[in-house]
């Protein structure tokens, strides 16, 4: 149904994985996102991560809320079950599904509107609950699907352009996850698959809540407050210069593949973002220094990427609950129902 041809996310060079499946077995339906959308790059990375890990497609549960980002689970692993719920409430659905069946691989895809505005409470509590899942936040600083309003992370990707002093901080999901005690915290960039794929794989393998904030530029509404070229500006000022519904076709942004610790990347709107990978000898197991490292580089205007924090202890919400190892959804009624004898005995206690 799409008119604009998409770059096919096929890699014919790659053979079958351990399960004998090919890359295409991990693909989904054709994306309906804008040409060049960062989210499509993330999708490609997710496909490759699942493929490389040889995870059986039907053992994957793909969860999302509402948004451009939330649509993407339809675009990978078609033979996985997907649940595109309501806006901002994916964490609760994932918690419930995981409670019912602890044996699946849960991947949640969210947006910055979905996770940091309407869903902020659920996001924080999923961290606290330590749900065993990979939570990917496709962070573009805007509400893509409702046409470009600023999100709570609006500053992301445009730190250099901050104009008005003393405006309240954007909500930084990485700092938040570190503060709230997430057991796996990372940041990636949609344009850097080389870094992103290993992070996704690590997140999928992590037991507990694995959070990856992925900077994923919105090619269509990548505007800044105050910019006179911005979409909002055009829309709000009587005389139009460009038709309001024109979305130029652009190609995705990608990082040079063998960039070292630091890279500057130009976004679609011409702004520059300085990415900085965590150093080789970085120790991701100390939460407080992770926070310090992250914040101090941020204060220097750098967007840190890589695995920032990892709690290797390997417990999740089911361990806290001492849930039985058989998925609850697979228990037989006999195993669950106390039966008539217990009932009769119990009744004597209510006399």
């Amino acid at each position: 149904m799409t008119y604009i041809p998409k770059p096919a996310v096929r890699h014919p060079g790659l053979g079958a994985n351990e399960l004998g499946l090919h890359m295409r077995d991990y693909e989904g339906t054709i994306s309906t996102l804008c040409a060049g959308c960062g989210h499509d790059s993330v999708t490609a990375a997710v496909i490759q991560a699942f493929y490389e890990l040889s995870i059986p497609p039907h053992r994957i549960a793909k969860m999302s809320g509402i948004g451009c980002s939330a649509k993407t689970p339809a675009y990978f692993v078609e033979q996985a079950h997907g649940f595109n719920g309501v806006h901002g409430r994916m964490p609760a659905l994932a918690t419930g599904a995981n409670a019912a069946n602890r044996d699946l691989y849960y991947i949640g895809i969210s947006g910055d509107g979905d996770s940091l505005s309407i869903g902020l409470g659920q996001f924080c509590h999923a961290i606290r609950r330590n749900v065993n899942m990979l939570y990917v936040l496709e962070n573009n600083g805007v509400y893509g699907l409702t046409k470009g309003q600023f999100s709570a992370s609006a500053d992301i990707g445009s730190r250099s352009k901050r104009g008005v002093p003393n405006k309240s901080e954007p909500i930084d999901p990485v700092a938040l996850a570190l503060t709230l005690g997430a057991t796996f915290v990372a940041r990636g960039f949609s344009g850097d698959k080389q870094q992103l794929i290993p992070l996704l794989k690590a997140g999928l393998m992590h037991k507990g809540f694995a959070f990856i904030d992925v900077i994923s530029p919105c090619v269509t509404f990548n505007d800044h407050v105050g910019s006179t070229k911005s979409y909002l500006y055009t829309r709000h000022h009587g005389h139009e210069l460009v038709p309001v519904d024109f979305v130029p076709i652009r190609s995705e942004i990608s990082a040079p593949s063998n960039n070292g610790g630091r890279t500057s990347i130009t976004m679609h709107d011409g702004s520059m973002v300085r990415f900085r990978k965590v150093p080789e000898d970085y120790d991701p197991t100390d939460r407080l220094s992770a926070y310090e490292h992250y914040r101090s580089l941020q204060n220097r205007g750098e967007v840190v990427t890589g695995l920032l924090y990892l709690d290797p202890s390997g417990e999740d919400m089911h361990d806290d609950n001492a849930t039985t190892s058989t998925p609850l959804s697979e228990m037989s009624h006999e195993d669950l129902c106390p039966g008539s004898e217990q009932m009769d005995a119990l009744m004597e206690e209510f006399r």
Binding site: N98, H125, N321, M331, S340, M343
Partner: protein
């Protein structure tokens, strides 16, 4: 010493009393003791808590109705009041029916202006005695409660052996408390025996009407239903009056669902961050194949409505228990009402309609809880168990619950791995059987079962759509599906009487009062038929019944006649046949009120009636 029995006929096993105390002072134990003792004497009784929405220091009452005939509705007429809270003396004294009794702590003198000469004041120096006999503020406060129970035992002629046995059972784990409790009972008992003409005309006499029964509240019963139905995932956010349901579920699960050796638990309880999340957990778990539920109350229903719409449209089995309290908004959290009937029936924006079950008492709470899970999975939709504070938190006498070990849960049309393997292609929302109910698959079972669940427009094949016909096809099937549940929900409880020309129609916890009212009306020469609606969408019998009566009085506990509204729109019965009898001040309904209202509508003057005049209606009773 006052003159007991002033203007009071013999009322053996047929009277009501209440105990007014201050919350936080531990009176619940003493009150439970009294209630249980009467029950163990084989006499039908019900107990109702009237408590404030705070933790300590405000007035609270425990109301007991003793009825050898088995009537269980609240009666707002009290033959005896134990007034332990000086702050409510005035109100309590005013509440005693003429000729009745007021038992109070005479350690301090009673203010003159409160005195009434048409009732009997029974002063017992409870405080004084306890200060004398016990040490420590804490023990004295607690023992004073037990002491008034002792006095009541003498006045009402309770079986002291029964009480002693109960104390022994209760403190089996801490035997040294037994002595002090015995002592306290005796203090009250002996004082009353010595100073009053015991027993009073309102008195107890051993019967054998409770041996097949238990005393239970509806939240406990519903929790048991969830356990026996095989629910494994419970999610909730605490809210009065539903909290004790999850407490019960947790307690029973710890007992029945934990491996005694490994400690592994066959259940998962999520105390969610709010009601939205609780609903989401339930929907997620239902989607993944668990039987999941959440207990809540009105504000929770409002907050859950977005998720309820998702579950309806995406067809995810899920069970919501609404223990109704007084609305709107925060309302009166510790008072009862039936104000969410309409909210539940069509919860969420857009075209929706939900299956709802309306228990009348804890026995039905149990059975309907079990049924709720079956219906949710059979129809792949949210199912509401709608009870209220009165059912949920009060002590009801109900037949012992029994369990049929042959019960097999109805998991609905779920395709297993083998079935999926065999079929050519699985379409999630296709009406294969023509009954409006599609087949479902669970995640993780088989690649062929995979589909993308969504609350946005979808086709019968489960794909995304914005096409009018494809959208409409699914919506029409949904309507058909839910409408077909009408004959699967519990059918209405109907009682026909000889010569009845009109009918009383009601729902939920109004049951007892309305049936008792029917007896009253019959005794007044006005026989009426009776119907209690038990499920939504309405069984076809409901319409038939309404049509068969020129005059249907619909009795319910809300301001806006919500049941009537539903009846009219859903059955399309002529509204002219339906009259509302409404009571919504927050107290359980009384039979006298219902009978009075009906009489009034029938144009009978008070003189025509054989029973209590309308003036004796409960507080807040309004037509």
């Amino acid at each position: 010493m006052p003159e007991p029995g002033l203007d009071m006929a013999d009322r053996t096993n047929d009277f009501a009393f209440k105990i007014g105390t201050v919350n936080g002072t531990g009176s619940a134990s003493a009150n439970g003791l009294i209630m249980q003792a009467i029950f163990r004497m084989g006499i039908p009784c019900t107990g109702k808590n009237v408590f404030p929405s705070n933790i300590q220091g405000l007035p609270t009452w425990y109301e007991v109705r003793v009825s050898g005939d088995g009537y269980s509705a609240r009666t707002p007429e009290f033959d005896l009041i134990v007034a332990m809270n000086p702050a409510t003396y005035e109100r309590d004294i005013a509440d005693v029916r003429p000729g009745g009794y007021l038992l109070h702590d005479s350690s301090w003198p009673m203010a003159k202006e409160f005195l009434r000469d048409d009732i009997n004041f029974l002063g017992v120096p409870l405080g004084e005695m306890c200060v004398r006999e016990f040490k420590g503020a804490r023990v004295r406060i607690l023992m004073k409660n037990i002491a008034y129970a002792g006095a009541l035992a003498a006045l009402l002629s309770m079986d002291l052996d029964v009480i002693r046995r109960m104390i022994r059972e209760k403190f089996a784990a801490k035997p040294k408390l037994i002595g002090s409790n015995y002592k306290a009972i005796e203090l009250g008992y002996d004082y009353a025996m010595e100073h009053f003409d015991c027993p009073l005309p309102i008195r107890l006499e051993t019967m054998d009407a409770t041996s097949d029964h238990v005393l239970m509240d509806g939240n406990t019963a519903a929790a048991l239903g969830c356990v026996f139905a095989g629910a494994t995932v419970g999610a909730w956010y605490p809210i009065t009056p539903s909290t004790s349901l999850m407490d019960g579920f947790q307690r029973f699960c710890e007992r029945f669902r934990k491996d005694p050796e490994t400690g592994e638990r066959n259940f998962f309880i999520a105390q969610a961050e709010d009601e939205l999340a609780a609903a989401g957990v339930v929907v997620g778990a239902g989607w993944a194949g668990a039987r999941a539920f959440t207990p809540t109350s009105g504000p929770g229903i409002s907050l859950m409505s977005e998720f309820i719409g998702l579950a309806y449209y995406a067809e995810v089995p899920s069970v919501f228990v609404d223990v109704q309290r007084v609305g709107p908004s925060t309302g009166m959290p510790t008072r009862t009402q039936q104000g969410d009937i309409a909210a539940v029936a069509y919860a969420s924006h857009g075209d929706t309609k939900h299956i709802a079950l309306f228990p009348a008492n804890p026995e039905e709470s149990f059975h309907m809880a079990v049924e709720a899970f079956d219906l949710a999975e059979r129809f792949q939709t949210p199912v509401f168990l709608v009870q209220d504070l009165d059912i949920g938190m009060n002590d009801w006498m109900i037949p012992k619950l029994t369990w049929d070990d042959n019960f097999a849960p109805d998991r609905g049309k779920v395709l297993g791995a083998d079935e999926l393997e065999r079929i050519k292609k699985f379409y999630r929302y296709m009406d294969v059987d023509g009954d409006g109910i599609p087949y479902r698959s669970l995640p993780g079972v088989h690649p062929k079962g995979a589909y993308f669940t969504r609350g946005s427009g979808h086709t019968s094949r489960g794909t995304y759509t914005e096409d009018a016909d494809e959208y409409t096809e699914v919506m029409d099937r949904l309507r058909k599906k839910i409408d077909s549940a009408a004959s699967e929900v519990p059918s209405p409880a109907i009682e026909m009487r000889e010569g009845a020309g009109m009918a009383l129609v009601t729902i939920g916890s109004c049951d007892g009062a309305v049936r008792e009212a029917a007896d009253i009306l019959e005794s007044q020469g006005v026989p009426v038929d009776y119907m209690r609606v038990r499920g939504f969408p309405f069984d076809p019998l409901v319409r038939e019944f309404l049509d068969a009566h020129e005059l249907n009085f619909v009795v319910e506990q809300n301001r806006d006649a919500q049941l009537k509204r539903l009846l009219v729109t859903e059955t399309e019965v002529d509204p002219a046949r339906i009259h509302s009898v409404l009571d919504y001040g927050g107290f359980p309904l009384s039979a006298a009120f219902v009978a009075g209202e009906v009489n009034e509508r029938l144009g009978l003057t008070p003189d025509d009636r054989k029973l209590r005049p309308a003036a004796e209606r409960p507080e807040g009773a309004v037509a």
